[in-house]
């Protein structure tokens, strides 16, 4: 990668982090209701809230200061490597965010790994047997799975595998077995999308000139498939994997709530609802950074494996 490209990416990352953290910072202030009362309500289920308490709590964290001053304070700390203190727990934000991102990375990473492996297998079979019964079955199944939302699928799987069969735990995140159902739920929709992409990519590769040339040179069908068709047919998949990974980092809230998993989506969601601004900002910054990093790595791999992208980038 050229220096200019790398610089563009770093600046892009910085801009994404700043913009997203500012957007998250604003949410509690533009939402109806008092963010200070939301924080206090998260600490204790309280109805009548003493105004003096609300004022004292707000003053402790400077919550009635001008918004830009508050954001500037956070930014100053952030550049010194300090994500601040949670308004609700009083603990360093890093102590909350880092364990959560660890959980989410392992969950999202495993789900995508499963999705990639399964979709390659299904997509290749569907493409190679295009219009045959395996293709029809796989295509129908993948289209059907796209339509099933996670909040419907998760309880169904819990009912089957945890309640009826007693094979797997219904919730938690403390053993490999406890990861199976959440990974399954998170991977089924990407499997559908990825399979469709792989099938389409493989079909295009099968019709490409270099594959026809390889066949003309007398290369066997299997070797042609492995050496020429699959590597090129999978190129669209990697871009999708990057996008899905970025989405899962903060967007697996439903699965995390249903399976009681202390991940990033739940942390950010709760922090926004409870107006715990530093935690929401810290969470979003880390999630965005991981997402940009992941898509950057995938982009790099994409460039290495696809000469057309490499050449296009160097010309641009």
């Amino acid at each position: 990668m050229h220096f200019a490209t790398a610089l563009r990416r770093v600046l892009g990352l910085g801009a994404a982090v700043l913009l997203s953290s500012f957007a998250v910072f604003l949410v509690p202030f533009v939402s109806p209701g008092d963010p200070v009362r939301s924080m206090l309500r998260a600490r204790m289920d309280v109805g009548a809230m003493d105004e003096a308490t609300v004022q004292a709590y707000a003053e402790q964290f400077g919550l009635y200061d001008p918004l830009l001053l508050q954001f500037g304070r956070w930014l100053g700390r952030f550049f010194r490597g300090d994500m601040g203190i949670s308004y609700i727990s009083g603990t360093p934000v890093a102590d909350l965010v880092l364990p959560a991102i660890g959980v989410t990375l392992s969950l999202a990473g495993t789900a995508l790994l499963v999705a990639v492996l399964v979709s390659i297998m299904l997509g290749v079979v569907a493409a190679v047997r295009a219009e045959g019964w395996p293709d029809r079955v796989i295509t129908s199944a993948t289209h059907a799975l796209i339509a099933i939302p996670e909040y419907a699928l998760a309880p169904l799987l819990v009912l089957l595998f945890a309640v009826r069969l007693s094979w797997l735990p219904s919730a938690g995140f403390d053993s490999p077995a406890s990861m199976v159902l959440p990974v399954l739920v998170l991977s089924l929709r990407p499997i559908s999308f990825f399979t469709i992409a792989v099938r389409s990519g493989i079909l295009q590769a099968l019709d490409s000139e270099h594959v026809l040339a390889a066949r003309a040179r007398g290369l066997g069908a299997t070797r042609t498939l492995v050496r020429h068709v699959i590597p090129h047919g999978l190129l669209p998949l990697w871009t999708m994997v990057g996008v899905w990974f970025a989405g899962l980092l903060g967007g697996s809230v439903i699965v995390e709530v249903i399976f009681a998993i202390p991940g990033m989506g739940r942390l950010i969601f709760d922090a926004i609802v409870d107006a715990d601004i530093p935690v929401a900002q810290g969470g979003v910054v880390v999630a965005v950074a991981c997402a940009v990093l992941a898509t950057g790595i995938i982009d790099l791999l994409h460039r290495r494996s696809d000469p057309r992208v490499r050449i296009g980038a160097s010309r641009g």
Partner: protein, 514 residues
């Protein structure tokens, strides 16, 4: 083989079979399942600690149900009385001072002794919090000090006959001095309870071991685990699969499934929460008593309880649950009387020019359905209403300012102390800080003023009852259903006493059978 030997053999076999059958069908006393001393109980709790174990926050509930945190006294929800805990006795030494005599030979789990100085330091820490607890705060307690090694004096700004109830609040829990560090509160090894916290999986669970030196005697379980599962259906599933032994606060939607499961025992008790249709008494149209009465008569409360709550709530008779000792036992569930309700609407002189608004708060998903039923039933008496769903936080300022018609909400009457005085004061007196319905009746206020200094429980409860009757007569709100506290237990759990105030779960007597 001859016939004689054959018949003798048959008689012997038959007798043996009969005896075997008898012994199988009549269990001997020794065949009763015995307590498993090595067992650990898993509790699926609806709360997760979020405040770094600050005792002034709801994290104190988690430590209390975990059998770690203890208070000077405890509230027994069965007898509705205050019982000894870390203090063996207490007395009011002056109008504004209460002396608690600590139990002898109690040690914190780190081996240090509980004395009055340590207890005072613990309570003073809670009093100094920026956002103090509901029950224990500088407005209710002015000073806590050690009189001598065994005597703790709690001074109140004014005479407070309910001070022992405050001391039973989980926020008044006592931890060892070493628990209070610069980085916050560390309960590990610093409680006095039957279970010692040994590890925590952040955001997931707290594990505990038996406290072999517990002051209260032998602890049955070897340990326990409190899982933080905020999603109700997931808690229900956990007890069904056997992953949890006790699941707290089961949602109505899971009730039928669990009741049909033979391996699960479902416990229900009146909770101190009544789902209420708050009527804005301060402005038209509900500043009119006749219209409020009409609203009460129009609603079919048993139908709401049966349909929306699926049996997890009982139709309300008034502002209190019937099981509460201050509830008027003569109050009945209001009967639907559409004709009378229509007449009251006509008599009120109300001419509707635009639909009224019912706010259903999103924090309680069922309120949207309740709102839809109310909307339909109001139509029958000629009242048009729209239901809007909003988060409570977003509407609270407008509701407190009196800019609304109706809001569906619910309140915990005993959220600060196990007595409704705080609720009655804040929610229904003219100057109440949380008077959502903007209700004001000097007679009601006088009854509360009269109840405040009463030390005799029966007298106080009688005054609450009268106050409740005033609210019902004024149709201040429509009290819809009393919600039930629902817990579910696995089949091997023994010695569990359901606490509707969700303070106690892992106790020394809780056990599992083999």
């Amino acid at each position: 083989m001859n016939l004689g030997r054959l018949s003798a053999t048959a008689v012997f076999a038959a007798t043996a079979l009969a005896l075997t059958a008898c012994s199988a069908s009549t269990p001997s006393p020794t065949s009763a399942p015995s307590v498993d001393r090595e067992a650990r109980a898993v509790v699926a709790n609806f709360r997760a600690p979020v405040s770094n174990w600050a005792l002034e926050s709801d994290d104190a509930y988690v430590l209390s149900i975990a059998g770690c945190l203890e208070t000077l006294v405890k509230y027994d929800s069965t007898t509705q009385n205050i019982e000894p805990m870390l203090a063996e006795s207490w007395k009011q030494s002056s109008d504004t001072a209460w002396d608690f005599t600590l139990r002898q030979n109690v040690k914190f789990q780190d081996g240090t002794a509980l004395d009055a100085k340590a207890a005072a330091a613990s309570l003073n820490h809670v009093l100094k919090a920026t956002a103090p607890a509901r029950a224990v705060n500088p407005k209710t307690i002015s000073k806590v000090s050690a009189v001598d090694a065994d005597t703790l004096r709690v001074t109140t700004p004014a005479a407070d006959p309910l001070l022992p109830y405050r001391m039973a609040s989980v926020n008044a829990g006592i931890l060892a001095p070493a628990a209070y560090g610069a980085d916050g509160i560390d309960p590990f090894g610093h409680c006095t309870g039957p279970f010692i916290p040994v590890s925590e999986k952040a955001g997931q669970s707290l594990s505990l071991d038996r406290n072999v030196n517990y002051w209260g005697g032998d602890v049955q379980l070897a340990g326990g685990e409190i899982r933080y599962i905020t999603e109700g259906p997931t808690r229900a599933t956990q007890v069904q699969t056997g992953e949890a032994d006790i699941s707290m606060s089961i949602p109505a939607t899971s009730l039928a499934t669990l009741e049909a499961d033979n391996s699960v025992k479902v416990l229900k008790a009146d909770s101190p929460r009544t789902a209420t249709l708050y009527l804005n008494n301060s402005r038209a149209p509900f500043d009119n008593l006749k219209l409020r009465q009409a609203a009460t008569m129009a609603l079919d409360l048993p139908a709401i309880a049966a349909s929306v709550y699926e049996g997890a709530a009982q139709p309300a008779t008034g502002p209190f649950a019937p099981s509460e000792s201050w509830a008027n036992p003569d109050l009945q569930v209001p009967q639907v009387n559409l004709e009378e309700a229509k007449k009251l609407v006509a008599d009120s002189g109300y001419q509707q020019d635009k639909p009224l608004e019912i706010i259903a708060i999103t924090e309680r998903a069922e309120f949207a359905a309740v709102g839809a039923i109310i909307q339909e039933q109001f139509k029958q008496i000629g009242l048009q209403a729209n239901v809007v769903t909003k988060s409570y936080g977003s509407v609270e300022p407008e509701v407190l300012a009196g800019n609304y018609d109706m809001i569906l909400s619910q309140r915990n009457r005993m959220i600060d102390i196990a007595d409704p005085i705080g609720f009655l004061q804040s929610d229904y007196t003219c100057d109440g800080g949380y008077n959502l319905s903007h209700y004001c009746n000097k007679d009601f206020d006088a009854l509360i003023e009269k109840a405040l200094p009463k030390t005799d429980q029966a007298t106080r409860h009688d005054l609450y009852r009268q106050a409740g009757d005033v609210l019902a007569a004024d149709a201040a709100n429509v009290w819809l259903v009393n919600e039930q506290a629902i817990d579910a237990l696995g089949s091997t759990v023994q010695g569990y006493v359901q606490d509707p105030l969700t303070r106690y779960v892992l106790t020394k007597d809780l056990a599992k059978t083999k």
